[in-house]
């Protein structure tokens, strides 16, 4: 039963990355809600968030300047992606939009290779050290990531439920046509969702890079894991995605500890399949309309 003692430490190991998956997943959820599109370029935005920070810090900019700048770069990417999508012909389908995000994702990944090369990169952000509790040590990096995630959840909640723009965005998610009749412009709301989603993705990239490094290669994988987080939480609920992400992180930590770290990237895939099979609406989502009927 010796392994049982290590379980809390394994779980603690998955906590930080789980919160990161959650932030990425919340971005998937925002875009899906307003436009029914799964943004396959979301993972690349995460990469740009992390690597842009590496570069900006490399110019000896202080973190308080570099981090917001990197998030701004990501928001610009999100806005550019949505503007690209709005060029599509009238009467295009969701499949068209999704294929455009896939193409943009491939191009962004290739571009990241050109800009930053293929090496793993990182920067210093978190203080050294750890807190010990219940026989488990949780380092400051994990605590910082969790705290930032919590703050972001509050910001997102405030935005969606307490500001006019956020309420308009939710109205648009419910029914774009009805929203239009009260003067909301669905196109603007979709743009807003892409920008907010990219901000969350970029922030996730910034948070993960100092503890686990970043490379252009990671985009696809981070995208899949963020998507899995969103599915676990229920694709329509951004806060569910954060919970889903943390659960996914804990599961990964546990499996890496107890089974093998070689298969680390396979666990999320298996979790995704299991959730789709057993509870496709996720923990907090609405039942997907018309599924299998």
């Amino acid at each position: 039963m010796e392994w049982l003692v290590s379980v809390p430490q394994f779980l603690a190991g998955g906590l930080a990355i789980g919160a990161v998956y959650g932030l990425i997943g919340a971005g998937f959820s925002l875009v899906y809600n307003t436009s029914r599109v799964i943004n396959f370029a979301q993972g690349q935005v995460v990469v740009y968030g992390g690597l842009a920070t590496v570069s900006l810090m490399g110019f000896a900019l202080p973190a308080v300047v570099a981090l917001p700048l990197a998030v701004a770069v990501c928001m610009l990417l999100g806005a550019a992606l949505q503007s690209l999508l709005s060029l599509a012909r009238k009467g295009h389908t969701e499949l068209t939009s999704i294929m455009v995000t896939i193409g943009a994702g491939i191009a962004l990944q290739g571009l990241a290779h050109q800009i930053w090369g293929t090496d793993y990169q990182t920067f210093q952000l978190y203080p050294e050290g750890a807190v010990r509790a219940l026989g488990t040590s949780i380092n400051y990096a994990t605590l910082t990531i969790l705290a930032v995630t919590l703050v972001m959840c509050f910001v997102l909640w405030f935005f969606l439920y307490r500001t006019l723009v956020g309420k308009a965005m939710r109205a648009c998610a419910g029914d774009p046509r009805v929203a239009q009749t009260v003067g909301i412009r669905p196109g603007r709301m979709v743009l807003g969702a892409y920008v907010a989603s990219a901000a969350l993705g970029g922030l996730a990239g910034i948070l993960v890079t100092p503890s686990l490094m970043m490379s252009a290669e990671f985009g696809v994988l981070l995208g899949i894991k963020g998507f899995t987080a969103a599915i676990v939480g229920g694709l329509t609920n951004p806060f569910g995605a954060v919970v889903g992400g943390i659960l996914l992180g804990l599961l990964e930590g546990l499996c890496v500890g107890l089974i093998s770290s070689d298969l680390q990237d396979a666990y999320a895939f298996i979790a995704l399949m299991a959730v789709l099979l057993l509870r496709p609406q996720g923990l907090f989502g609405r039942v997907p309309p018309g599924s299998s009927r």
């Binding site: 799964i38 191009a107 899949i224 298969l263």
Partner: protein, 577 residues
Amino acid sequence: MNVGLMMERQRVPLAIAGALAIVPLLTRDDYTLGVWTFILLNVLVVVGLDLLLGYAGQLSLGHGAFVAVGAYVSALLTTKAGWSGWGAMPVGMLAAAVLAGVIAVPTLRLRGYYLAMATLGFPILFDAVIRVGSSWSGGSSGVTAIPGLMVKGVPLRDPAMYYWLVLGVVTIVLLLAWNIANSRLGLKLRAIHADETAALARGIPVVRVKVMVFVLSAAIAALSGSLYVHNVQFVAAGTFGLQYSLMLVVMLVAGGMGRIWGGVAGVVVLGWLPELLRGFATWQPVIFGSLLVAIMLFSPSGLAGLARRRTAFLPGKARSGMTAEAVPVHPQPLAGGDVLRVSDLRKRFGGVTALSGLNFAVQAGQIQSIIGPNGAGKSTALALISGALLSDAGTISINGLPCAELTADRRALAGLGRTFQHARLIPTLTVFENIVLGASSRAMPRLRSEALATAVLDRLDLRDAAQRFPDEINHYQRRLTEIGIALALEPRVLLLDEPGAGLSASETDVLGQLLRELRSSGTAIVLVDHIMALVIPLSDRMLVLDGGVQIADARPAEVLADARVRTAYLGQGAEHA
């Protein structure tokens, strides 16, 4: 069968194969032939992918992994277990088919793009397994010295001969894909692509068809992988990575999704791009990604969009025993009994009761109408009866078969035809193909379903519109086409959701006459409409819903005299009006 006619029908796949056969006649250069062999192998994968993505509208971003499955099964069985390549090939296809099935069942049950994400993840899983199992798989150093395919005891090594072999396989797969695309199955795939709800209402088992086409395309991909390793003699982790999978999608999109020759054209045109861009190899993802974006935005039908699709379905003469008047032709006329019986049907949406206790029964040759103010629950009732929604409680039987738990396609096959409030024709199919689709989920030979569709066409006087697409005909014709699709199912009971909406007075008269004729041929009809001039003279019984509650079900004269009905329609004090 007449050989000339057969060749005529298959001219597109045969012409493609013929064009590809020129290559070894023009060059004896081994390197060039090798590149062209690789192009042919990609043609195989892309043609399978086209059935999945172009026809059925289901996106796979990891088809390269199925190529890899075929490659590894062939590589390992021949090098480690001493199998012959010919024996390993079907095993690889089977393995890919099984894996595809495992991925398909959780993802394709759902609507949306779950398959795309799952297929993006599958290659990562596969790659991890190969790397972890490097003791048997060779990991990233790969499997080497894979034996060639034996022909008459000698391994096939000559590049030109190998090209001919692969071309033979490509021809077979092209013929297969072409005949699927131009069959009733092809119509079903297009219908699923355009509108799953409408497809289910036509009796198409949507999930089963989606899984089947995914499994088929995965098996074809594995065949390509197997042919690859026996030629190149080497495979390693990452040979068919994400980049390869995405390139397949880009090639298909560039050539044109949903057209067999489009995919081939895309591979032939873009297959050379990596060769031409060798100096800029690192820029390839940027170029391919941007290309995908540009094509999807500005020319989503790709190269194939240059030519209009030609249909393989043409209305002929109505055949023996299938005159227009005889449609629908019930296999055995029902004597009495309820064709549709609904008891105590209930539905709530969150806290809102949409329907609380619906009860009625319709016999053959009867028209039961359902009326009520907007929001009374009429559309909910139709959705519950047709299976587009599941009821919370209550029973539904069609022809005595309990149906409350069945999916919409099963109810359609049990004898229930329906139309939608807003006509849901498949926009990518002609009017005639739409009607053939209505007949295609029932077990009958193709000629019979075409004859049936022709008879429906004549009955509805739609022959002039037969070869047009839904956006090229007027509203009245679209309404009639929807009824025609339902008639092609030869339904026992027909649910019509506001068929008269937006029709002129004379068109409404023609519709009324049609419904009378259908009734006298023994069809039971459930009619929902607001146009009382249509409903009252036609109805044998009228059911009135108000706020989800059934307040009357009787003959029209009695219903119209009912004080509660008058209140529901005209408000308080209406009795005195």
